[in-house]
Amino acid sequence: MEQPNLLYIFVSALLINNFTLYYFLGLCPFFGVSGRIATAFRLGLATIFVMVITAIAAWALDRWVLVHAPYLQLISFIVVIASTVQFVEMVIKKASPVLFKALGIFLPLITTNCAILYLALTASKKGYDLVTGLVFAVGAGAGFTLALVLMAGLREEAELSDIPSIVKGTAMNLIIAGLLSLAFMGFAGLFSSSA
């Protein structure tokens, strides 16, 4: 099947159709972890890693297993994601206990990050081959990380400002996210030709 332009896929997932700010994916960690820039960035990297592995596994499953049983797609993808996250958890725990402690509960929660599942389902639906799927995964993960880090920066600033108590909390975070999403809308049309 003809594969779409790789650069377009990457930039589209990163900026134009950002997974978090356009598709509303990965919101639990987005609102949960974005308190500190450093933590946000590291969670983003872990998520990118899980996305890449999931993309590969999803491609393999699609190619060899799901051809015979398409109705098992959802269950098998979820199992792959859960296993990958478990594996990443073990690796981080051994390699950097400090990071493991900093991420806390948000590491296992990567499993319920809808962004990863959506990535696998979309790459499957659009018939991406292995390379395209990988580019898509890296772009999407980077987009999620970008949104997360930007949000963390804004929230760190907001902590220093005088905000009425009614707004504080999730309501304020949502409005900040809305403004961020509005800003990202400016990226639309990045790839259209003016010819």
């Binding site: 099947m1 134009i16 159709n17 109705y71 639309a188 049309g189 259209s192 003016s194």
Partner: protein
């Protein structure tokens, strides 16, 4: 109560754990197979019907169609269930060839636009256009399917040398009037059709010698019965 609970909660063996998961998986698998098999005919019928509606919309006065794929450098009737990319040939009530319905995809303003356009090879004109999928800006870009005037551009459009987008009224038969405020979406639609045309044009059969409609007894009767 607490003591009973303590003894009852002794570690279950790995076999029991594996068995529970395996059993759950098995039940789930069975349920899913059943639902899948039960809904498959309806889902396939819905998809086929949606495609037929789109084809008959872009090639007017047609009531039957079949899929064509490229085989050995020439257009041939697609075998049942052939998933290769192909185009569609539409036929009138008398079984005579009326036109092609050619699918196309490309970058729009926000995301990929997918469309189907009707093509009359004898007149070398586009005779209709239907947007299948798009995520253009509501109120602006989505006029590519909501604005009847824009869609009307495509009901008798010359393709030679190629379709051109203009901003203030059509003067030549190969021009399309862009939507005000949605120039990029309009240009995207035209670009998709131009490119699809380029890639399929040489493969089309010489006018007059298109593949004839293969006899489809069950489907033919159903098509005529479905209120035309």
């Amino acid at each position: 109560m607490a003591a009973e609970q303590a003894t009852a909660k002794a570690e279950p063996s790995s076999i029991k754990l594996a068995f529970t998961l395996g059993f759950a998986g098995l039940l789930s698998g069975l349920a899913l197979v059943a639902v899948y098999e039960a809904t498959l005919p309806t889902i396939e019928a819905n998809k086929a019907e949606a495609l037929r509606v789109a084809v008959f919309k872009v090639v007017k006065n047609s009531s039957a169609m079949q899929k064509l794929v490229v085989s050995g450098g020439k257009l041939a009737i697609a075998a049942e269930g052939d998933k290769q990319p192909g185009i569609f040939a539409a036929y009138g009530k008398d079984g005579r060839f009326v036109g092609y319905a050619i699918p196309g995809k490309g970058n729009g303003f926000q995301d990929t636009i997918s469309l189907l356009y009707g093509f009359d090879p004898a007149k070398k004109k586009v005779v209709g256009m239907e947007i299948l999928e798009s995520r253009e800006t509501p109120g602006l870009g989505d006029k590519i399917f909501k604005d009847k005037a824009f869609v009307g551009n495509f009901s008798a459009l010359d393709v030679d040398p190629q379709i051109v987008v203009v901003k203030s009224g059509r003067k030549k038969p190969n021009e399309v009037d862009a939507i005000t405020g949605a120039t990029i979406s309009s240009k995207a639609v035209v670009k998709i059709i131009n490119e699809a045309n380029k890639s399929w044009r040489q493969k089309l059969a010489a006018p007059g010698s298109e593949p004839a409609l293969k006899a489809q007894p069950k489907k033919g009767a159903a098509a005529q019965g479905k209120g035309h």
